[in-house]
């Protein structure tokens, strides 16, 4: 009887000890996707659509969209330490700029020990200037590591 007990103890120990932490297999980026759409490609949008840039004064890099095709998209993260992010959409072909202002709430989420922390966002308002942009549409205002947010930017 006691031998059976000891063997069982040994087996359980091995099983318990074998359970270890693994690597992160989840997406940890909470991104906002923006798409450029042209309502009528024969109009003035032709002048600047092939040389768009998206940037923020606080970013390290600029997102350049050369040779832009219809429904081309870009991705970026809102500022995790702020509730306002301003993004500028510019074209090499013109000095006119458009500014997108996002006001949002953010929350830090502990995904797991393996994946660490991510920041999720909920966009409350989106304001834009309309120098080159015709209209904007906030399609998905929830930005999580599981699903990107989505804005559509339309040009005439």
């Amino acid at each position: 009887m006691k031998n059976i007990i000891y063997i069982f103890v040994l087996l359980i120990s091995v099983i318990t000890i074998s359970c270890g932490d693994g690597e992160c297999n989840l997406n940890t980026d909470s991104l906002l996707t923006g798409t450029f759409s042209v309502e009528d490609s024969t109009l003035k949008a032709d002048l600047f659509l092939d040389s768009l840039s998206v940037y923020s004064t606080e970013w390290l890099d600029t997102i350049n969209k050369w040779n832009l095709e219809e429904n081309a998209s870009f991705e970026f993260s809102l500022s995790p330490n702020d509730t306002i992010t301003e993004v500028i959409v510019a074209s090499k072909a013109t000095t006119e700029l458009d500014t997108l202002t996002f006001r949002y709430q953010n929350e830090v989420v502990f995904l797991s020990t393996e994946c660490g922390f991510v920041v999720n966002f909920k966009i409350d308002t989106l304001i834009s200037t309309y120098h080159l942009i015709d209209s904007i549409s906030l399609v998905n205002d929830e930005i999580t590591s599981e699903e990107n947010g989505l804005i559509k930017i339309f040009y005439l």
Binding site: T16, P80, C115
Partner: protein, 243 residues
Amino acid sequence: MDLLKYFIYSITLVLMTSLTSFAQDDEDLYVQKEVKEPLQLKGIKFGVNVGRFSDFQFKPDRRSYEASFDINLSNKWFGVVEGGFSEVNFSRTIKISETETDEQTNTYSYQSDGTFIKVGFDKNMLKKFPSDYLGIGLRLGWSSFSHTANNINLDLDNWGNVTLPEMQKSYNAYWIEASFGVKGEIFKNVYLGWAGLVRIQFRGGKDSNFQAYDIPGFGNGNKSLHLAANYYIYYQIPFNRDK
């Protein structure tokens, strides 16, 4: 004629068998009922969960200690109180992406500590070896703990290295624990035992933003159902021990 003899013989055999059965049933009516003896204090047992010491070797991020106290009533019923302390302390560096020239990593540090207590009973199902134990138990568990994350750094494409503010939260958690285990008296009054445990958390300890990595006494905070095992060494102070 032979057929008639065979028929009579068969009938007689069936009747005799039936009568014997009836007689047996009749005797059963007069079997004396087992007299239940009143529960008697047989000992007080103190134990230490030695399984927790494996953390030093296999889970260096965690330190936990657990002790047990039980009251032995006639080697049948045991009133049990178990309690302990647990702390977790680690830092992680998580590789997000890697190119030939650059590697993106997120980092954070995590600490948690708390105490727990479990109250319940064990029922010994052994009758032949009354000083040993093979049985089932039930506990109600409660844990109070807090956890903190700091040095949370995210390496984001646009923003570069961003440091997030420290997160700190405190919780209570409650669970029910069922056990099946054995305890054997390896030396006089010294017992070695193990138990398989099923824990079901029914209240507290949940947070959609900052879920605890480890709930003291319960286990992984991400799960409401937890399977575990414990390994105890006990010393029993005997009372009214049979000679």
